[in-house]
Symmetry: none
DNA sequence: GATGAATGAGATTTCATTCAT
DNA sequence: AATGAATGAAATCTCATTCAT
């Protein structure tokens, strides 16, 4: 099977898996159901993805790819604007991405929890073989930092064009922004279908976050 | 068995479970191993905790209790200080709590992911029976908002004593701070044993976060 | 579980397996069906017998045990008779055993085909792991020669009491008799439900064989 | 593809199958390996032989053909000798055949086990469709009795020329001889690479068998 | 006719959870 | 309340066999 066709089949499977994982969660998802949804048999499914975890990693990889693509798009859209707009655009784009692609954002967040100790800590065994042997795991490792780097580059651009006055290290600003978003996503995730937490409209928090980011970048807080 | 004895056994089991969950993660943890670690058999384990998830919920409850206790302690320690000091103390206390009790912070964060849709969304089934029927799940629901409320109260106190000038809603400020911390924790969690991410010292981010919080509260950004 | 109870359960499973193997043959037998027949689940079945082949070996072992028991019984029944009667009794008993216990005789014959090269020939791999790792395989190796030895001893007794005049080595006579029976069994097996082969009544062959054996032993051919 | 070419391909496949079956046994042989050995793909293999069992039957058929050819050759070589020499020559030829063509003798012996109940016994299903539908199965049925008949004819010739005095039915003598050989073959098969069983040299048994046959035929025992 | 991909059936394993004593 | 055995659900794998191109 030529690469194209195989890729198409993989994509089809991944889509089926996405819908199943999204619907019932990783733990409750059955390979059988994923296969059925993809219109194939379990064995065929296994011939494409060697384990459930491997399949999850494939989705994670896809999520990273998509996120990066979104980032590039935003950068491109802002190439004639000041750097600060690009940087903030990325922040907002990241939030939109998470809000609109729950499973994707979950995989990305889980991924970062997962790789704790991937540097070789005592609890290496926390990453099961199914994951660490996954080719997607390797592929993700190659691109996992790209989102941060792209953000940092936009901040640099903003510093150069004067739109960003903060004297903090660009990566520091990037990570601070990233963590703020991640926390916000966790927050909205935890609120479920509700749009408020303790009567506080989540939109308010989002707006506040954005304001904060702009101020931090522009005025250097 | 009198309540005391039962409580002691439960504590013993929970400690065993903590060490196992901490070591290999929830998914890879085996009830058998937990039982062995606790010096009992699986069936006895089940007589105390009706399911693996229930056991996890028990730990989560313990984590919430501990966190709340920490918050009360901080509030008490700051009762003669200005409100802003209490509020910031709580933020820092939360971070310390997470950094020093990885499993606890993980359970708390997971808990909030878990209850998404508990309000009755389309994927109600995502919360398995094992969880929703857990008595600990119920108990947690009674206290889950306490950390946020305590923080909010300290902010109110700061507003009253003039140490906090921000005109934003106290709960908004609370949630913003909370999300910033959660994001930061996710960040350090993902860095594993390393103390840096892309050459950025995590301590820098933490310091930056604290500065930011203080500025936001004091000057009202 | 005390040894008794476990043994009883094993026996129960073995009986179920016998009936399934007898009905559909080893290849077509499903572990699921055997489990159902034994009134247990597949997993329980596997907790007793680690593989289908292991189960088959268990039956083979039982067959050997049974055959040996039959031989002992015959020897005992003939202890006041001349040796030649014991020797011939064993021959006839062996034939009866095969005719009345098809599965048992099949396992014994298959076993001997199986162990070809167990001495370490080039095709060691012909004995799959499932078999060679079976404890029953080991146990059989300890008793596989007993039927031959018992026969040989009866022949020796016959030589001593003068009822057997043959000057051939007792083991040679034993093996010759054994091979004649095995061949005869193969023959009747191949005739299926029919009682003749090419119009020849199988009983005739059996009678002929017995006569032959008696002559060979008595007169020393 | 003309018949010749097809035949050549079939032969090539059969040879590959023989080597694989010989090496690992029917149960452990993989169609994939046979195809690879034959330098073709699985599907092509299936286009020649519709099932694994069919392939085995093809080899069995070849074995029968070969055996019959050997018998004819022996008969021809003995046409100027007395009938008893032809009959005994066949016996010895059969033994040589088995000793020198292990797989062939195995297939022939297995075949006879296989067809048990082909007459329509209760376990008809024991012969799988793969076998009973095999064209080779049909072909074998046409020639399976030829070896016995040829032997019987030689015995008849011996009776006519006076070299065989036994008054037993020729087919009875044939079947008795056949079963003795089959048993002997089972015996040597079970001894694997060893040339002895319980210290008894297998050659001794063979010699004894032949003596016995000669005596039985000549003197009528 | 040949090929790579897919299917279907069943073996085997791993665990959370439950039963019987 | 404690224990060893058993259950049930699903993951994973192996192969003979079939399909689509």
């Amino acid at each position: 099977m030529d690469r194209q066709r195989r890729k198409a089949k993989e994509d089809n499977i991944i889509k089926a898996a996405e819908s199943v994982f999204e619907a019932v969660g990783f733990g409750n998802a059955k390979m059988e159901d994923i296969a059925t949804k993809a219109g194939i048999t379990k064995v065929t499914l296994y011939s494409y993805f060697q384990s459930k975890e491997n399949l999850y990693m494939a989705i994670t990889y896809k999520a990273f790819q998509y996120l990066i693509e979104v980032f590039y798009q935003i950068i491109d859209n802002n190439k004639s604007n000041l750097g600060i707009e690009g940087a903030i655009g990325i922040q907002e784009g990241f939030i939109d991405f998470c809000e609109n692609n729950f499973l994707f954002s979950e995989t990305i967040l889980n991924y970062f929890s997962l790789i704790r100790s991937s540097a070789g800590g005592k609890d290496r065994n926390k990453i099961s073989l199914g994951i660490s042997e996954s080719i997607y795991f390797t592929k993700i490792q190659d691109i996992q930092n790209l989102p941060l780097k792209l953000t940092s580059q936009e901040i640099d651009r903003g510093k150069n064009d004067g739109s960003i006055q903060s004297e903090k290290d660009s990566m520091l600003l990037t990570l601070q922004g990233w963590s703020m978003i991640v926390g916000y996503i966790k927050l909205i995730t935890s609120s479920g279908v509700s749009t408020t937490i303790l009567n506080m409209d989540l939109k308010e928090i989002k707006k506040f976050n954005t304001e904060l980011t702009r101020t931090v970048l522009a005025q250097g807080l």
